[in-house]
């Protein structure tokens, strides 16, 4: 794996017995000796520590010193209310293309004198140049090197992190703060991608391993790999970029319309003004031909990405396909997500998936599969 980049926790992962795999150009832990099932259940019951340092952290400071100018410029790339994002708050968004597809999904935080974006590892270089073009004159987007990103997720995350940083106890879901830990500035958000309460902590590379070790020394905390990260987000009904969403899926088809605030919709004060706006606003008003849905396979066989879906046991034409699927350790059954024609998207609709040459029954289900557990 010599061509792969490593994070500042690489040696720690190896010491912990992780199995390392290539992921988005990085050597990352897919699982530790506890195994994917155990890690998943541990995270839902207690607290799990994830190395997400491969993700891109991008700082958008204002050339003029006026952050609202940067917010407005960013609004030309994302259909999100950035201007209305208060200092110390974060929200979810996505870069769109001219056809209304999704270039990447991301988190946007207002940290007072700059916006901090967290973008997917596999898209981060493209995202940076997209922003350099889109924000030129207003901000020089800076990919932050030298800071790692740890996620601590699960119902005991607050208990664990508050031992090191007591003030995290006062944070609500999607709050962002800079808090001190032994003289080190931690950039903390109360968020994550597991459906559980938790935090994402940006820490200087030089301090990341010490912080990780202090957390892992706590009885509540276990290290969690990419395998369980995927099953956790799937149960939580969250989209994985490159699978459930990509340049060919619109946010409305994907069920992400909630992330487009009223002010950016038809009739809003800053309606449209982003790539693909006509397409996306039309879809908000008129609906889409297909929709992302949850899917419950009837049997025990997991149904994974690429599995075609049919309206009945013999019909020749597929009405959709699965974009993510696997076994849900907390729900103790196979679960999937995928896109289906609008006519077959109602919860409870019986469909068939073609798996290894056989048509197997599957039912359209509401997302998420497990209830979110955020601290509002």
């Amino acid at each position: 794996m010599s061509d792969l980049k490593t994070t500042s926790l690489n040696a720690l992962h190896l010491e912990l017995g992780a199995r390392m795999v290539p992921f988005a150009g990085y050597e990352m832990p897919v699982q530790y000796p506890m195994g994917v099932l155990g890690e998943h259940l541990h995270c839902r019951a207690s607290a799990g520590l994830f190395d997400v340092s491969h993700m891109g952290q991008v700082r958008l400071a204002a050339k003029s010193g006026d952050l609202s100018g940067v917010a407005l410029a960013l609004e030309t790339l994302v259909p999100v209310d950035v201007l209305g994002l208060a200092e110390g708050r974060q929200r979810y968004g996505f870069f769109t293309n001219k056809d209304g597809g999704i270039l990447d999904d991301l988190m946007i935080a207002n940290r007072g004198d700059h916006l901090l974006l967290v973008v997917n590892a596999g898209c981060k270089d493209a995202d940076l140049s997209h922003m350099q073009n889109g924000l030129s004159g207003v901000s020089d987007p800076e990919m932050i090197n030298g800071r790692s990103l740890l996620a601590l997720q699960g119902p005991k995350s607050e208990t664990a992190l508050a031992r090191l940083v007591p003030d995290v106890a006062g944070m609500r879901f999607m709050d962002v703060r800079t808090l001190d830990w032994q003289g080190v500035d931690l950039w903390i958000s109360r968020s994550g991608y597991t459906g559980e309460d938790g935090f994402e902590v940006s820490v200087p590379d030089t301090d990341a391993e010490t912080l990780a070790r202090e957390l892992l020394a706590m009885a509540e905390v276990a290290p969690i790999g990419l395998g369980a990260r995927d099953s956790l987000r799937l149960e939580a009904g969250l989209c994985l970029y490159g699978h459930d969403i990509d340049e060919t899926t619109s946010p409305i088809e994907a069920g992400l319309g909630w992330a487009i605030q009223k002010v950016r919709r038809t009739g809003g004060a800053r309606a449209g003004g982003y790539p693909g706006d006509a397409q996306i606003m039309g879809e908000i008003d008129e609906g889409t031909a297909r929709k992302r849905v949850g899917l419950l396979p009837e049997g025990r066989a997991p149904m994974r990405q690429g599995t075609p879906l049919f309206a009945d046991a013999t019909s020749p034409a597929a009405i959709g396909s699965i974009t993510s699927g696997g076994f849900g350790p907390s729900v103790e059954r196979p679960i999937s997500m995928g896109y289906v024609d609008r006519a077959h998207a109602e919860t409870g609709t019986k469909l068939f998936a073609e798996l290894r040459g056989k048509r197997l029954p599957v039912t359209v289900a509401a997302l998420p599969f497990t209830k979110a557990n955020f601290k509002h």
Binding site: L37, H40, G227, R300, R304, P329, P334
Partner: protein, 119 residues
Amino acid sequence: MKYTEEHEWLMPEGDLVVVGITEHATTQLGDLVFVELPEAGSTVSKDDEIVVIESVKAASDILAPLDGEIVEVNDAIVADPTLVNADPMGDGWFFKMKLDNPSDMDDLLDEDDYKALID
């Protein structure tokens, strides 16, 4: 005990052989969540894809190690796939088969060959 390059083990038991996957294979695959076994009584040829196993992360096929007939399958691992992880060389066996040519076993890997393969 014999082994295949596909990480199966074969243990003679009377005039049958018991087939399973090695501990190395289960470690690589991770926790199994689904197993689909062939029908008892079916005739198989070497390298037929006769078993589907899925871990939390991925699906894999298990190939027939040699020509023969599937005589018995281990339904316990269908009901609880984690048995394979817990005891791959014991309770986690997959199926028993009657070989068309018992001497075919001689062509498979012995323990030292297999250890060399996975090191």
